[in-house]
């Protein structure tokens, strides 16, 4: 059942693992923010990813610059997410089952709309022209675009870390999460803050969708393929922990790529082994705090 691979193949797999890990971090950090800070199980996170990717496909089709397309579709999905949070999710604060039903329902609606607008054909936009080549190192070729995904993910990870841990905004978010009533008393607009976080999470997912499009391609069903990956990453890393999400993302990236190369039939099962171990040995996740 195990397939043999050479050292060169292993190196390529390693690069792919890092690229997928970076993508997963962009996707899951938004999920982790929304889930960890607002306790909303956002089951349309995969849909934000897919919607962002489709927006990106259309924008690229109009000849937009790749990075501009990624940012624009991130903004568009952020606006959609913000509206959903304000108008629908806001009424359901603290009610888990209704939140699940609502986000799942919207995920189905988004999936069907995408199918109507972009049809069932897969799209694979090409990477930005400056990143189409490969770098040669140690006598091996490394595709440049995959390295770029990794770079972008690292930059965004640092930016998020600075935002949450070091800025006034981050302090307000943490205060709003720890004790919303007291945060309101001292003048923090918790409600607007939550909308902002939800939009930010949606934007990160959509941005990841555009970044992933040249690599994973975009097709119907992508949404519910990405959602469990985000779930597994957050269960692994611990909800609300950026470091946990980062580690979880790269772990899943490695397992997915090497699993698929070594045990093609069982790739999906291998993904779930670390989740089992974590649930048994450390239910709060690798870097999660114990919630009393």
């Amino acid at each position: 059942m195990m397939t043999q691979i050479t050292a060169a193949q292993a190196a390529i797999l390693a690069i792919n693992s890092l690229a997928l890990g970076g993508l997963l971090f962009l996707l899951s950090s938004g999920f982790s923010l929304i889930f960890g800070l607002m306790r909303i199980p956002n089951l349309m996170h995969g849909s934000f990813f897919m919607l962002g990717a489709y927006f990106g496909v259309t924008l690229l089709g109009w000849g937009t610059n790749f990075w501009l397309a990624a940012v624009l579709s991130g903004l568009a999905v952020a606006a959609i997410g913000g509206v959903i949070e304000r108008l629908l999710l806001r009424r359901l604060e603290g009610q888990v089952l209704p939140q699940v039903l609502l986000t799942l329902g919207l995920a189905f609606i988004i999936a069907d709309i995408c199918l109507m607008v972009w049809t069932g054909d897969p799209y694979q936009p090409s990477a930005p022209s400056e990143l189409r080549g490969a770098v040669t190192a140690f006598g091996m070729f490394f595709p440049l675009y995959r390295l770029a995904i990794l770079g972008v993910a690292v930059v965004i990870a640092i930016a998020l870390w600075i935002m949450v841990d070091w800025t006034r905004l981050g302090a307000m978010i943490r205060a709003g999460v720890d004790d919303p009533p007291i945060a309101r008393v001292v003048g923090i607009k918790v409600s607007q803050l939550f909308t902002l976080i939800f939009s930010l999470g949606a934007a990160l997912a959509a941005f990841a969708g555009v970044m992933g499009a040249p690599y994973l391609s975009v097709y119907p069903g992508l949404d519910f393929e990405m959602l469990p990956l985000a779930l597994i990453v957050v269960i692994l890393g611990g909800s609300g922990s950026l470091l946990g999400t980062l580690v979880g993302s790269f772990l899943i990236g490695v397992l997915y790529n090497f699993g698929q190369a070594l045990f093609p039939n069982l790739a999906y099962v291998i993904l779930f082994l670390p989740m089992v171990l974590v649930l048994v040995l450390r239910p709060q996740g690798l870097f999660g705090k114990v919630v009393p």
């Binding site: 889930f35 519910f224 779930l231 039939n265 048994v280």
Partner: protein, 338 residues
Amino acid sequence: MNRLTPRGAAIGIAVLVLAALPVWIGNPYYINVASQILLYAVLALALNVMVGYGGLVSLGHAGLFAMAGYAGALVLQAGHGHLLADLSAIVVAVAATAVFGLLSLRSTGIGFLMITLALGQIVWGIAYRWADLTNGDNGVNVTTRPAPFGISLASADAFYWATLLVFLLAVVTMAVFVRSPFGASLRGTRDQPRRMNALGYNVWLIRFVAFLFSGFWTGVAGLLFIYYNQFVSPQVAALQASAEALLMVISGGTATLLGPIVGAAIVVIMKNVKLFENWWILGELFTHWNMMLGVIFVAIVTFMPEGLVPGSVRLWKRGLQSVRKRPAVPAKLEERAP
């Protein structure tokens, strides 16, 4: 003791009507729809044990349903008999439920939901990707239906009656389960887990046993499904299928016996019978089932959080009230209280 209560009479009449249904309907297409309703009602009843009585919302039941289906179909494909196929389907379903339970019952609420969702998606992933075993997207065919005691179930009528028998068995078991001390303790763990713990009950074990019970009937439903459909594919394990099952439970009203049955009927009829075909938007909506599913979910949480059936009744009454001159009781009284 043996006097006929109105309730007993109603149940008796319902059973008679259900049994006479194929004769009355005649058209095999609609008899098959009726069989589908009954088999999905078994699934909805099983899920309701968790959602309604245990307060644990599972989005992985389609995974268990599919495991039973695949186990049965693969054993049959390997050339074994129906008895072995049926047994292995049930055993696989219960064993998979035990694994699901060991992993997911470490948490409740959102955590439980997310873990069952992830586990269900993994079953889907195996069905879809492990092509050597499951034949991937092409699915597995089930060529024959069983013939218990020499009675062939090949016709729509015969299959309906067999399904009805299993369905009635499921309803009776559920009724006994709900009224039993164990059912009461399960509801206790839903409402007051800490107090139940303090009273000396093993909350985890109660939930685990309830999950096994639910998994058993989910497996039975999965087995009925492959005999009905004579084909099983990864679609059966998809998240949409779990969501549909949840919709059946919620639309009918949770924690009741009748609710999931009514819910299964609503969902199966909406999916299979061309309703409002000539009503432009509505007809269009009914052909886009996923969209419809989503719209119903959003409508339920926004307008009638207690479930489609009780919610519609409430909205209907309110509509009647506003038509009359003056409501007997000020409508806002309840909302003002706390």
